[in-house]
Amino acid sequence: MSEGAIKGKVTVRLRPGVLDVQGKAIANALADLGFGDTEVRVGKVFEVSLDAADADAARARLAEMATGLLANPVMETFEIEVD
């Protein structure tokens, strides 16, 4: 990777309505630990350094990565941020 790499972030979340088995277990555990009633959804974040001309180019590239690999469109949605 060259020095001029841009850093971006792809956050992947389960689509609303899709069962979040981890979130459910974590909320139960938090309750057991005395944190009371919570609702938890678990997502993934991919922090990617990539070569791109500018922020817009990086954003477009990250969107392609997300559709092609990082997110599973059947169950997940994604969101992109670029520094």
């Binding site: 309505g17 899709v18 069962l19 088995v21 139960n28 092609g68 059947v74």
Partner: protein
């Protein structure tokens, strides 16, 4: 807003109902259905639940026998395993969901088949899976393989049921429609089997397990439709498996059953709450009333329609004996699961659902179950296969190179990449692990006994001749279990076919049923459970007929099980049986172009029966050091495979065989077995006494595979070299990177 009648033809079509079926439905009700009722009929009359195209043919399968405790019709089949124990097993498909979302699709397939088994009161002790993928170089194949294997492993490993075996192969006919068939087996006391019946008027009905969300609504109708443009839009209906909850559900259910609290129980599988309650009421000849607003919900704003059709996973419906409610609640809550009384058993013969007091569904159970459509669809007899003239055989320059190439095909190659991802040892009962023998062997808890299992189907044979091909699947799986030393006792099946609305497909279906029936009758292995998966096609291109067979076998002493690899030098290798080698549909023919030519192996169940009896007699006499049946790739591949486990070579002289060289080496002679024995004379004498051809081909030993024909050394290859090619096959397929 909830749609109300009259419904448009489009709405009726979306519910998978033909105009005729809808007219019948109205006639049965004497009125138009409410919206939730339309949903209920849509799933209950789907191919998936009603078996409307297959029922007339399934009746021809043999389903009874002295060991059969429960045949088809319940959640799983039950067979007497001796000493008061029973084995409970079934196989089921999850093809369409796995093509759309391979990981969750395969995972929920495992979850579903496990529930079918423990719902009968049996503790699951083994899982197997049979997988069919498209051609290895199809761009989507690596993604599908990784997803499906990850899903099966992820689920089975977490619930703690060992995945002890399976079958996987690749063919272009599955490019647009993979097959994921999951098999589960459990063990129970024979007098403690639970049935899916809503018995006892007034008994309360409890909902147990995960909360209901909008998962997989219309999953059952989806499984009954072919793919085409627009299936993308069906994506949000994907169900997510939660193996952790399933594990708790297994323990809670078995504990509740052990305490004798239940009058009936059924899992919520395809078509969820609807099919579980209607089937339970139908089997018991009772009725049910459900208060839908009490169903534990995961999402807000859910409607009666959605609650009835949701396929949320890890849920059970339990009919509790009146007066034992508190005990049930205490047990289920101790396992941390949601539980709620949602209804009662009635004697009305009607399925009634209320929503905050209002009746939203009120239909006769009989209309949903007994009156479901049943078709004898038009069919065309499958054409007879034509023999391949010797002159039309492709030339073979180098038999050794062909052997290596065959071993390197992903269909024949080692499946270690798959089963290494499956916990095949949990429960400390696995005696023959995947890869170690022709069938998996698991000990029956609290006994010395073993149960052997194998799943098989060669779809190329079925494409050439569905009658013979389907029968051969039975024969091959029976030979597999006999190789490890177990007596085949019963079968479960999973019949994967294309659209039943095409007469040529229906013709293959009917022929396959007859082939299975003939083979099962000859082998005295009744069919005790099974599943039909139709519409396996994409844009009019169907899969080969793939009637998967799961064979279950028993042995008195699990410790006597033997593997398929030659254990030591200096043994005699004997071929038992004289099935003629066939090149039609063979993998070798596939190396040279289209394999779908010529005659498939001959189906001769009576001859196979004799081989099995001889093999089991040899086992009993302690004459079998290893055994492996001849299948894909023929005798040469079988011999090579026997050398891999322990690195023990072989020098075989196949001069006594018949036919052209490619047939002798690579012809697929289903019904022959490669046995290694320390006492050649005794084995040959035993075979002769039982009227089975036995043929000494040479000794084990060294580190090479040497095959001689008419004094010509046609194969001379290092075991390590062949094994490397065989082991690289599957990793090469999944190493390719493709889009989702």
């Amino acid at each position: 807003m909830t749609p109300t009648p009259p419904y448009t033809p489009e709405v009726i079509r979306q519910h998978g109902l033909t105009p005729d079926e809808y007219a019948r439905l109205e006639a049965l009700l004497g009125r138009a259905p409410t919206w939730p009722e339309l949903g209920v009929f849509s799933v209950m009359w789907s191919e998936h639940c009603a078996y409307k195209s297959s029922r007339v043919h399934l009746r021809r399968l043999p389903t009874t026998g002295p060991r059969v405790i429960q045949g088809p019709g319940e959640n799983a089949g039950v067979v007497d395993a001796g000493d008061g124990w029973a084995v409970v097993f079934k196989m089921e498909s999850h093809n369409h969901p796995s093509f759309i979302e391979p990981l969750q699709g395969a995972a929920t397939g495992v979850g579903g088949i496990l529930r079918d088994v423990f719902t009968m009161g049996a503790r699951p002790i083994a899982l197997l899976n049979a997988l069919r993928f498209g051609r290895p170089d199809h761009p989507r194949t690596p993604y599908l393989v990784k997803g499906v294997v990850g899903g099966i492993g992820g689920y089975g490993n977490c619930v703690g049921v060992p995945t002890v075996g399976g079958d996987a192969s690749f063919d272009a006919c599955y490019d647009g429609n993979i097959l994921v068939n999951a098999f589960a087996l459990g063990v129970a006391r024979a007098d403690r089997i639970f049935l899916g019946r809503a018995e006892g008027v007034g008994n309360p009905v409890f909902y147990v397990g995960s909360k209901t969300g909008r998962d997989g609504i219309h999953g059952a109708t989806m499984a009954s439709e072919e793919f085409g443009e627009g299936s993308e839009a069906k994506r949000p209906t994907v169900q997510v498996g939660d193996p952790f909850t399933e594990k708790l559900l297994i323990e809670a259910s078995l504990e509740v059953m052990g305490a004798d609290l239940l009058a009936g129980v059924q899992d919520m599988g395809a078509a969820g709450l609807t099919s579980s309650s209607c089937e339970m009421a139908s089997r018991a000849g009772s009725g049910l009333v459900l208060e839908l607003d009490r169903v534990p919900m995961r999402e807000t704003g859910m409607t009666p329609y959605e609650l009835l059709l949701s396929e949320s996973q890890e849920r059970m419906l339990m009919v509790c004996k009146r007066g034992r409610e508190d005990e049930l609640l205490a047990i289920v809550r101790r396992w941390g699961l949601d539980v709620c009384e949602v209804g009662r058993v009635t004697d009305s013969g009607r399925f009634v659902c209320r929503w905050h007091g209002d009746v939203v569904v009120d239909v006769p159970v009989g209309a949903l179950v007994d009156e479901a459509p049943c078709y004898d669809r038009p069919r065309i007899e499958p054409p007879s296969p034509t023999p391949l003239a010797d002159a039309d055989l492709p030339p073979m320059a180098d038999a050794g190179a062909d052997l290596r190439a065959l071993l390197a095909t992903p269909t024949i190659g080692s499946k270690r990449w798959i089963y290494r991802q499956y916990d095949h040892m949990v429960q400390t009962g696995t005696v023959i692990r995947p890869g170690a023998g022709d069938a998996a062997v698991v000990r029956l808890p609290e006994t010395q006994r073993g149960v052997a299992m194998s799943v098989d189907c060669n779809a190329r044979y079925c494409a050439l001749d569905p009658y013979a091909g389907a029968g051969l699947a039975v024969v091959e799986s029976a030979l597999n279990v006999a190789c490890v030393g177990a007596r085949p006792v019963a079968v479960t099946d999973c019949l994967n076919f294309a659209s039943p609305e095409r007469p040529e497909v229906m013709g293959t279906f009917a022929a396959a049923i007859d082939g299975i029936a003939a083979a099962c009758a000859a082998l005295e292995t009744p069919v005790v459970s099974g599943n039909v998966s139709l519409y396996n096609e994409t844009e009019g291109r169907g899969i080969h007929p793939t009637p998967m067979i799961g064979m279950v076998a028993l042995m008195e002493d699990a410790a006597a099980a033997v593997g398929s690899g030659f254990p030591t030098d200096g043994l005699a290798v004997v071929v038992l049986g004289e099935a003629p080698p066939a090149l039609g549909g063979s993998v070798w023919l596939g190396l040279r172009g289209d394999p779908l030519r010529g005659l498939p192996p001959r189906l001769d169940p009576a001859a196979a029966r004799k081989v099995i009896d001889a093999l089991l007699a040899a086992h009993a006499a302690g004459l079998v050091a290893s055994a492996h049946d001849v299948s894909e790739g023929g005798l040469a591949v079988a011999l090579a495979e026997c050398t891999f486990a322990h690195g023990v070579g072989v020098a075989a002289d196949l001069s006594a065989g018949e036919g052209p060289l490619p047939a002798r080496l690579f012809g697929e002679a289903i019904g022959t077995v490669v046995v290694a024995t320390a006492d050649r004379d005794a084995l040959l004498a035993l075979a002769q006494r039982l009227g089975v051809t036995a043929w000494f081909v040479g000794p084990t030993g060294g580190d090479r595979v040497v095959i001689t024909v008419d004094e010509r050394r046609v194969v001379d290859a290092g075991v390590a070299d062949l094994r490397a090619a065989w082991e690289a096959a599957l990793p090469a397929v999944v190493a390719a990177r493709g889009p989702l």
